[in-house]
Amino acid sequence: MKNTDRYKKNLIVSTGKNKTYASESVKSIIYSTDPRDFGQVKKSIPCQDACPAHTNIPGYIRCIHEKRFGRAYELNRLANILPGVLGRICSRPCELYCRHGEPDLGKPVSICSLKRSAADFKSPMHRILEGLYSPSGKKVAVIGAGPAGLGAAHELSVLGHKAVIYEAFEKPGGMLMYGIPDFRLPRNVLMLEIENILRLGVELKTGVKVGTDVSLDSLLSDYDAVVIATGCTMPNRLGAPGEDLEHVYSGVRFMEQVNNGETPYVGKNVMVIGDGFTAMDCARSAVRLGAAEVKVNIRKTEEYMPIDDQEKHEVKFEKIRFYSLVDTKRIIGEKGKVTGIEFLRTKLEYSPNPPYRNAVPIENSEFILPADSVIVAIGQQPFPGEISGKIEQNGARILTRESGFSTSITGLFATGDCASGASNVITAIANGRKCAVDVDEFLIGRKRKIHVVRLESVDNTDRDRAYDFIKRTPMNTLDFDQRVSQRSNEVEKGYNEEQAAQESKRCYLCSLKYEIDTTACIYCSACIDVAPRDCIKMIQDVSMNPDGSFGHYTETRNWNNVSAIAIDNERCIRCGQCYEVCPMDCISVTKTERIELNIEE
């Protein structure tokens, strides 16, 4: 059978019949496990697919539009448990893929800042929702109270197990508490959201270092399962002479001191080496510690820095300079104290597969710049240290089974940065939760939760074409004086309600799937005439993806070859124009959502 025939057949067959694969209008709500529906959702909602926790982004943005902030917050919490935190510091992988950011469509929706708005404007002490399972009587130890450990403990508690977290530091949060500075993440916001986890019955033991204060073996014998979530706490070394001089810091240790309320010496002239989150936090903290001139030295150029434009803007606003195309040759000192850095200039060199740029030092290009202090923030690695023992490792990382989180020791699991290598908060949370589901299956012996696609036919596009031309709302921030006068002043002020409402209109609501019923279509092409881009296609043939969903469309301009007219949901910006103009009412809109369901209900 030709693919187009199958396409048509599908359209016909699924009409009115109780078939889970819904490729046409669905009159009632259907929960589908058909891989083709997952394939369709994946392609249609690029932001949700890019979010490691698969947060229902269009869903919560729509709630913000309706001013249902509490609901927007809970939709977030379902997937990522720390919305107020993430709304401030998430690395925003979703925004890179937002359809609104495609060429000629403007800038991505401020997905992250809207998440913060949900947290800011929900009513105080609003009702939180948890789908709790009854107690299993099983006990699980979680090592590390960073985002991964918190995510795992939360999900384990929901699933009815007793989770006990062992944390070496005095306070929970991991890098949220000891890495990220409070001017980006106020600690009351962090602690409130951690409390929401602890109140499920999670026990938190802080100031206990596993391996030193209590052995891994004793945990393994005292608990039904153990999850290691110890993060990446060991700084990478530069490997250049002078690294051990006084006033040379590693990024993580420097931030640890700053976040403990200490004031490490920085002097007037600070050199930061590195281009990631940690380097930016160190540079910005140095400004707040009184440095007059702070340079962030990077080997490549700004374009290749792994941080987003907003962060770059804030850094520059604080009078920090990016000093690009330089490589550290050595750190220079006098009487044991740092006085400067000798650099080499670098040039970019192309390397194919995948396309990438290397920074190559230029010969004889040495030059020296003075420095009162140097902060080396070039990444960190896991430090399983005393707890590693007999566990198989992959370099410094704890080796986990390819498809999951179990380690070489039965009942011992690992998740977060200690297993994946340094990542980001949302990845760590997502992996923490997934790991808990693996642990649950290990303890209970069966799967209890599944993902399904919820399909609901709707008769409203929920949008106005004018929304497409609204510009991305910039973040409100403090001016420079307020930032430095008190180092804990939060720099980003969040949107006000009106700004949040305005920004929420920008979302195309990609979860709405537009389809043309080819059996009713009279091929008048009225929809094509009003379409804002090449979203509606006259197709000759269509290929199939491995999951069975429709793949690439072979288009034709010759009416004799047209076998169907179809909406390409990867191109559609859900403007609703075709829906309004169709004389035969053959365009349908279906809300498609990926959700988690309990199998046993």
């Binding site: 004889n364 040495e366 004086d481």
Partner: protein, 339 residues
């Protein structure tokens, strides 16, 4: 063998025009196109201040009238903004959705006034002057207004201040010594500048920064960090220039502060060269990267980029050094032409 080369040059300043001439001289039949977002043919930017004063007419600004392009068979597309380059497909995308294919490309897009992050909160209230259309639009306003604040962070500001004084305006300038462009103003130099400007009747503020600029009625209220609170009819910002490279980001052509080129002015793509104010070059003598600035460097680079694009292997050197005198300072410079 017939040649099918289409040389496209983006930018119609000195670098772009010298490149076009060089290409035409050695390849009489080639298709040559210059694309520029300005509407004026090749003109002298440094004469804009004379133009505003009414001392120079449009003809006096013009380096090259349209007829010369016609005689040289150089296709001039004015008022057309290049939005994107695809160096793999060798296509440039114009803002009005048209595409132009090239076989060889020279980017000579110059530089624009820089908006320092510290002024971003009120950049809407600041005027800049760098093009003919800026000047044209601002003449009525400059004629009408009496009091001017000039954020003096670059060498061009001096010329503008002098123009205002010649026109009998009241001028206050805030000297940005530490962020001065294109050289840093050491304390003694700043002192000389201050004296020279004060002697001309300009009020000079130094060691202070703008905190806020707010529009109130027709005027602008200024507050500085040290507490100065004053109202001006208009506020001008001269805080240096930055290369026009935004439209290149993400294309695969490497950029830093400018477009990164080797000492032959070639980018990381074999058929794409860059010249003039937009180019950034490693200079082994300075052991540093260097952004070309100034009229003469643009001419030299435009010529050399075209020669190398045609197969020569010439290495770029900055223009020869000369003494430049501005506001009491004598500077040894290879980057600025005194006119």
């Amino acid at each position: 063998m017939p040649k099918n080369d289409h040389y496209v040059i983006i930018g119609n300043g000195p670098a772009g025009n010298l490149a076009a001439d060089t290409l035409r001289d050695s390849d009489p039949d080639a298709r040559i196109t210059i694309v520029s977002n300005e509407s004026m043919t090749y003109y002298y930017r440094h004469k804009l201040t004379e133009f505003i004063k009414g001392k120079a007419r449009e003809e006096d600004l013009t380096v090259r009238p349209y007829s010369v392009y016609k005689d040289k068979n150089i296709r001039l597309r004015l008022g057309q903004q290049v939005d994107k380059i695809d160096p793999n497909k060798k296509i440039i995308y114009l803002k009005h959705m048209e595409t132009v294919s090239y076989t060889k490309l020279i980017i000579a897009t110059g530089a624009s006034p820089r908006a320092l992050p510290s002024v971003s909160n009120f950049s809407k209230c600041l005027n800049v002057l760098s093009t003919y259309s800026d000047a044209l639009a601002q003449i009525p306003m400059i004629n009408k207004n009496k009091t001017f604040l000039v954020l003096g962070g670059d060498i061009i500001s001096f010329k503008f201040i002098r123009m205002l004084k010649d026109m009998g305006k009241e001028v206050t300038t805030l000297l940005y010594s530490e962020a001065f462009w294109p050289f840093s103003l050491e304390a003694d130099m700043a002192q000389q500048v201050k004296k020279s400007l004060s002697d001309k009747g300009v009020t000079v503020i130094s060691d202070d920064h703008i905190k806020s600029v707010k529009k109130s009625g027709e005027a602008f209220d200024i507050v500085t960090e040290k507490g100065l609170n004053q109202s001006f009819d208009s506020v001008y910002s001269f805080l240096g220039m930055i290369p026009n490279i935004r439209f290149i980001l993400g294309s695969g052509i490497d950029t830093d502060r400018g477009i990164l080129v080797d000492d032959h002015l070639k980018t990381n793509f074999d058929d794409v060269y860059a010249a003039g104010d937009c180019a950034q070059i490693y200079n082994p003598d300075m052991k540093s990267y260097w952004l070309s600035i100034g009229w003469n460097n643009a001419k030299i680079q435009g010529t050399l980029a075209a020669q190398n694009l045609l197969g020569a292997h010439k290495v770029i050197n900055p223009a020869p050094q000369k003494i430049l005198e501005v506001e009491g300072l004598k500077i040894n410079t290879s980057w600025w032409e005194s006119f």
